[in-house]
Symmetry: C2
Subunit: 216 residues, 2 copies
């Protein structure tokens, strides 16, 4: 059985680990599955051969002996359901862990993406300075209840799960924004995620692609 994922030939973030292949790499490292990586250029991502794998012309994709998946959440869920290490055994606890995956992707990430758009795509617009605080407030409106729910726990629901993997991955996008400073338990949660050996291997692997720096 061979797993092949696609990743940016050169990530727009220069190897800070924010490209979504990092999430898939992390999941595969947590469950101990080896994988191969096929690098794709921005131009090739929009060509028919890649669009057959990913209709939206993005990365990552996942090929497991002919089963082709796209969409990071779906790939991580597939990995978590087929290999041990990312979901609890108890059926109810599994459903709750999956709930946090969706919460990360559909409740937490949309305002985080809106903030990224405000900075990257509209940073030069005349309204940028006045609008940015509004968008930041939308992010805070999600961070505050997340922080309240996490409380003093290490992870969102019992042991580390695919739900934490995804939530940490979304919070990583806020690392340089300063917004996490108001929520020390979320900053510590993020740091716990980053400290996992599987995350470090995933991070180093994507960094090596983007900088030529070999994993230590």
């Amino acid at each position: 059985m061979t797993i092949t994922i696609t990743a940016f030939e050169r990530s727009p973030d220069g190897g800070r680990g924010l490209a979504r292949d990092t999430r898939v790499r992390w999941a595969l490292e947590e469950v101990g599955q080896p994988y191969e990586v096929q690098l794709v250029s921005f131009r090739a991502m929009k060509e028919p051969a890649h669009l057959r794998l990913h209709p939206f012309g993005q990365i990552p994709t996942y090929d497991e002996d002919g089963l082709v998946l796209f969409e990071t959440g779906a790939i991580v869920l597939h990995i978590a359901q087929h290999y041990a290490g990312l979901l609890p055994d108890d059926a109810d606890a599994r459903s709750r862990a999956v709930t946090w995956m969706f919460a990360a992707l559909n409740t937490m990430e949309p305002p985080v993406l809106e903030l990224a758009n405000a900075k990257l795509l509209e940073g030069d617009k005349p309204w940028s300075q006045e609008r940015l605080p509004l968008v930041e407030d939308r992010v805070r409106a999600r961070l505050k209840p997340l922080s309240a729910r996490l409380g003093r726990a290490d992870w969102l629901d019992g042991e580390f799960s695919a739900g934490d993997l995804m939530m940490v991955s979304v919070l990583l996008r806020l690392k340089s924004s300063g917004l996490l400073d108001g929520y020390p338990n979320l900053a510590a949660y993020l740091a716990r995620g980053e400290a996992r050996p599987a995350y470090k291997r995933a991070f180093d692997a994507q960094l090596a692609v983007n900088t030529g720096k070999q994993p230590t």
Copy 2:
């Protein structure tokens, strides 16, 4: 076994079916599971009793004999995995259907939510008129490849699935925007979803809550 969901006591959309309980109602109707509804006011949604069910203080939540889930995607996936009717039998086809659920929620819905924010939360801002076309273009950048992938098919991957349920639910938010006019196959796809008897039952049930109009 009793399933209880929560929904708005009075939905901000006045019963147009855009509140997310409609998605859960639709899923339960597709699999033929009866359910009870507990209505929640805006004030009650932010109080501790509801926050225990839903950390972000929203609806819907799902209670199945003590298993409590929040997040629409997770609830619909749970229903699809436990009752027949929303996922194919073949394992690979199931993973692909789940992929479309995530694509709906994490690729298609974020720009759709950004457009909703631009209109609802920033419609009175001085930048609104100049900015709106930029946000609409971000939605089109997702509609175009979705339309290309759907082509002439009825549904996104074989038979109707939870992936279609979720994608149709997201596209419903664009119905009044005019953006779907440029993609006749997506408009027809949306209409096919709305024509399903299970959707109609779900829509009528939420409408009855919001208008007092009894289901026909």
